[in-house]
Amino acid sequence: MLLDVGNSRLRFFAIGGIGLLVVGAAVMAFALETPSQTQQAPGASTLPPASTATAGQTAPAGAGSAPGSQTAPSGLNIVVLDPAHGGTDPGARGTGGIQESEITLEFAAQVRRGLEQQGLQVVETRQGNDNPSFDDRSAIANAQRGAVFISLHIASTGIPGTVRVYVNSDLPPVKTTNGFIPWDLAQAPFLGLSRKLGDLVQGMLTQQFKGSPDTAQTATIRQLRTTAAPAIAVEVSSVVVNNRADLDHMAPAVADAIARGVAAFKPLYAMATTSGALP
């Protein structure tokens, strides 16, 4: 009886061992096969083919095909506020432990109040200390109808007490296909409106913060490129201030200027919508 039990145990272990071996072999074969599919040719390590996680994706042109948004009224209704950085990415770091990711969040709260006072609905890309990807942030704007996108930044350079507005540099013209535009070039059809929005907001900011530029500037900003809406980045100088209060004192005026700039932009947006200038 004892031997029978031992025998059945041995049989169990033997069969189990073979089973594990087969499974192990399958896992090894899969593990070996996977790198062979992605391995680059020798020498290619210094020049990998460019690819992004969103390659091949598309964005709804004008976000008009966003589900559930068909009943939204035409014109500018929503502002997507993007406090840059967050999570493990603190952004610019200044003296006294000032972090860009914290300041942008506080600025966003004040800008939100200013915009809501203008009758605009506000959506934020983050409200806590997390760090959505560039595409995730763009996706929030791209899912809206009648939205503009404003990314908030605090620089580590520049004359303290000045604010600059940036619009994405020129992008190649794109053709919409079945109402969709390429995700990687989602900003292209909106560049003209982005410049108008940027100039208006910059004008309001310059009234408040002397020494700031008169018009919006251009830069190749990753965050804006995939955003299918009029989009700007607002960069405040700077985290390199002697006192954190210097930045805090700027927030109400920045919020007011952005809100007034967006309000001034509303008629231009409505005009573009009715004239069919928007994709």
Binding site: L3, D4, G6, N7, L10, R11, A14, I15, G17, I18, L21, A25, A29, L32, S36, A41, P42, A44, S45, T46, L47, P49, A50, T52, A84, H85, D89, G91, A92, R93, F134, H153, A155, S156, T157, G158, I159, Y166, S169, D170, L171, P172, D184, L185, R195, P213, T215, A216, Q217, T218, A219, T220, I221, R222, Q223, R225, A233, E235, S237, S238
Partner: protein
């Protein structure tokens, strides 16, 4: 010994032998494959490190017989640090576009006399520089370019602009610039400026180079040329010195 135990032991031996045979076959099949792949991976890594070391150790050759020309280098303006300004520096420059590009970029990295006007981190190193047959230049920098640059849209855009304008002013053969960090494409320079595409160089001859950061002249301000660069190594001729 009980008689019933004999067949049981026989089966046990059979299964153990079968298990061992499977293990030996499996090892025989996968061990050479594993060794081959490990050898290849080690060789690739060794090549990459050797290449980087070679690039770092060997300075860009300066031939005294090369004509000394007044190169234009773009650093921050003394009057306004939010814009770039050209500075004439007399250098012996090669006529070869790759060597010439390396020479001016290394001078740009070395920085101006006033270190406060530099656009690139002092610890950044140009690891490699290539020019494709279509005029696309590939500049591969050490990680310090991305990690040591002051974070911000303005500072990052000025860094890229200083490179594109300097190349444009001194190497007319170049059309575009692709920036890599330690041999890899990265999404942004320091969290803001897009490095997934190429930047226009010599795209608008005749345009003013002044105030590139504030003048909305996209073709001259490091405008990103998308879609991102794709290269088929079997068909594109690389030039490396």
């Amino acid at each position: 010994m009980e008689p019933a135990a004999e067949p049981a032991r026989g089966r046990w031996k059979f299964w153990l032998t079968t298990l061992l045979v499977f293990a030996v076959i499996g090892a025989a099949i996968f061990a050479p494959i594993l060794r081959k792949r490990m050898t290849r991976a080690a060789r690739l890594q060794q090549q990459s490190e050797e290449q980087a070391r070679r690039e770092l150790i060997q300075p860009v050759p300066i031939n005294p017989s090369d004509p000394r020309v007044k190169a234009q280098l773009f650093w921050l303006s003394d009057a306004d640090s939010s814009i770039l300004a050209p500075v004439a520096v007399e250098l012996p420059l090669s006529s070869d576009p790759v060597l010439r590009s390396k020479q001016v970029l290394n001078t740009l990295l070395a920085g101006p006399v006033d270190v406060g006007l530099r656009t690139l981190p002092p610890d950044a190193v140009l690891l490699a520089f290539y020019v494709l047959s279509d005029g696309t230049a590939i500049a591969d920098f050490s990680e310090a370019l991305a990690t040591s640059i002051p974070s911000g849209i303005q500072s990052e855009q000025l860094a890229v602009d200083s490179m594109t304008h300097t190349l444009e002013a001194n190497v007319p053969q170049l059309k575009r610039l692709k920036i890599l960090i330690h041999g890899q494409e990265v999404e942004t320079l320091g969290g803001h400026v897009d490095l997934t595409g190429t930047f226009a160089v010599n795209a608008g001859a005749g345009q003013s180079l002044a105030n590139p950061a504030t003048t909305p002249a996209p073709a001259k301000t490091g405008a990103l040329v998308v879609p991102p660069l794709t290269v088929t190594f079997g068909t594109v001729k690389l030039t490396q010195r």
